[in-house]
């Protein structure tokens, strides 16, 4: 069962990967086998793949720790936060 779902998952990830982009930045996504997630490098967020179905709702995304992005409460207002930061630095 686990192996089966993994195959399905990889297949889905492959066929969809040429169409999917990050929902917030519209930049390409990278598939990470280790954490089984799709990673948007542009904003440093990982979107999980549940049972072969990529979950790309901004709220489902997890902010990656290693990125020097300050951690907001939810990802939905991430763009707003980054805009704010830009506004401050400018």
């Amino acid at each position: 069962m686990v192996r089966g779902s993994k195959e399905v998952l990889q297949k889905a990830a492959k066929t969809l990967s040429d169409i999917l982009v990050c929902p917030l930045s519209k930049q390409p996504l990278r598939y990470c086998e280790e954490s089984n997630s799709l990673i948007s490098d542009a904003i440093g967020v990982a979107f999980p793949i549940k049972d072969g179905v990529p979950c790309l709702v901004p709220r489902d995304g997890k902010i990656l720790e290693e990125e020097d992005v300050s951690k907001p409460e939810n990802v939905a207002n991430l763009s707003a936060v980054s805009e704010e930061n830009q506004g401050r630095s400018a």
């Binding site: 889905a12 969809l16 040429d18 169409i19 999917l20 549940k50 179905v53 979950c55 790309l56 709702v57």
Partner: protein, 336 residues
């Protein structure tokens, strides 16, 4: 029953509740948050378990929407199906001769359970002529690469988006040039009976009203939306469906099964039993027909638009005509 875009009707119903929610601005951002998308997700999760296999309303709306594909000579190898009534759309797009040449179908919804339910029915069916992929995503944040799909279908889902023009612009960008956008949304006449009954019952029992039925787009808005989103050759038409229920409570059950219950971000979370029963009683007494059933109106606005392409017909430049209309009239007038 069907009316063209020119069809216009005076809005007869109290606009108070609608205006109040339209002007609501959330505290943190300046963006208008009319609907609670998270709540809608939860409602659709629930609807995934309650939706009957064959809902006549959803079935006829999706049939009507996909009928438009048969009018096109073009084929659409890659199709994206946005949230809303997914099951009927998937089942009709999976039958090869009449599905507009769809080879690859991407099904998207904000609710994981809904996607899972669709996947289970899809796996259960034996014929897999169409490659179907599933995806959980929000229409307001469309994760689709630019110019990658030939067809975007949205059946009864987009009326829950806070930023409808934004969602439509994103769909247009996802389309390849000369790609087709098909959408069905509920229009402002939808559930007018319920709107009246709720208002009256709340006035009577609570001495004030709060929005119970969500604000919906008007027919005249739909054309503007398509143009604003940048679609070419826009087309809008309207259908009204009247569904008969045994009682007003059954209507609410049906709405719940479709995941179409109230998700206003500003809604009053408390519904008193008293008010609910009063609403049902007012509904029954005001609108019930002779045979004892109560009708509910569903106004569906169908929108069609294309992404720009050089092969599409365009209006000629003003003043570029070489023949006068008078001459044409003379020509044809003499023939007849």
């Amino acid at each position: 029953m069907r009316a063209v875009i020119l069809w216009r009707k005076q809005q007869l119903f109290p606009l108070a509740c609608r205006c109040r929610s339209r002007t609501f601005v959330s505290d943190s951002t300046s963006k208008l948050q009319i609907f609670d998308r998270q709540r809608k997700r939860a409602q659709r999760d629930r609807a995934a378990w309650f939706t009957p296999a064959h809902d006549p309303l959803l079935h006829s709306v999706s049939q009507n929407l996909l009928d438009r594909l048969q009018d096109c000579k073009k084929t659409f190898p890659t199709a994206l199906c946005l949230g809303g009534s997914l099951q009927p759309i998937i089942s009709s797009l999976s039958i090869p001769p009449v599905n507009g040449g769809v080879e690859k179908l991407i099904v998207m919804d904000a609710s994981y359970d809904m996607v899972q339910a669709c996947r289970n029915t899809c796996r259960a069916s034996s014929d897999n002529a169409v490659q179907t992929e599933f995806l959980v995503a929000d229409e307001e944040f469309l994760p689709i690469k630019e110019s990658s799909v030939d067809l975007v279908v949205s059946c009864l889902g987009l009326h829950w988006t806070n930023d409808l023009p934004g969602a439509m612009i994103q769909s247009r960008l996802a389309l390849k040039p000369d790609g087709l956008f098909l959408a069905a949304i509920l229009g402002g006449e939808t559930l007018k009976e319920l709107r009246i009954a709720c208002t009256l019952a709340q006035m009577e029992r609570e001495g004030g009203i709060s929005p119970r039925v969500s604000p919906l787009a008007q027919v005249r808005d739909a054309g503007n939306l398509l143009t604003r989103a940048g679609f070419t050759l826009p087309g809008v038409d309207v259908d009204e469906y009247i569904v008969k229920y045994e009682s007003a409570l059954e209507l609410i059950e049906h709405l719940r099964a479709m995941g179409e219950t109230n998700a206003l971000s500003q809604m009053n979370n408390i519904l008193k039993r008293d008010t609910a029963l009063a609403t049902a009683a007012i509904y029954d007494s005001m609108f019930s027909s002779e045979d004892g059933t109560v009708p509910a109106t569903f106004q569906v606005i169908y929108m069609t638009g294309w992404r720009e392409h050089s092969s599409q017909q365009k209006a000629k430049r003003r003043g570029s005509a070489t023949i006068s209309f008078k001459d044409i009239q003379k020509q044809f007038g003499s023939q007849s």
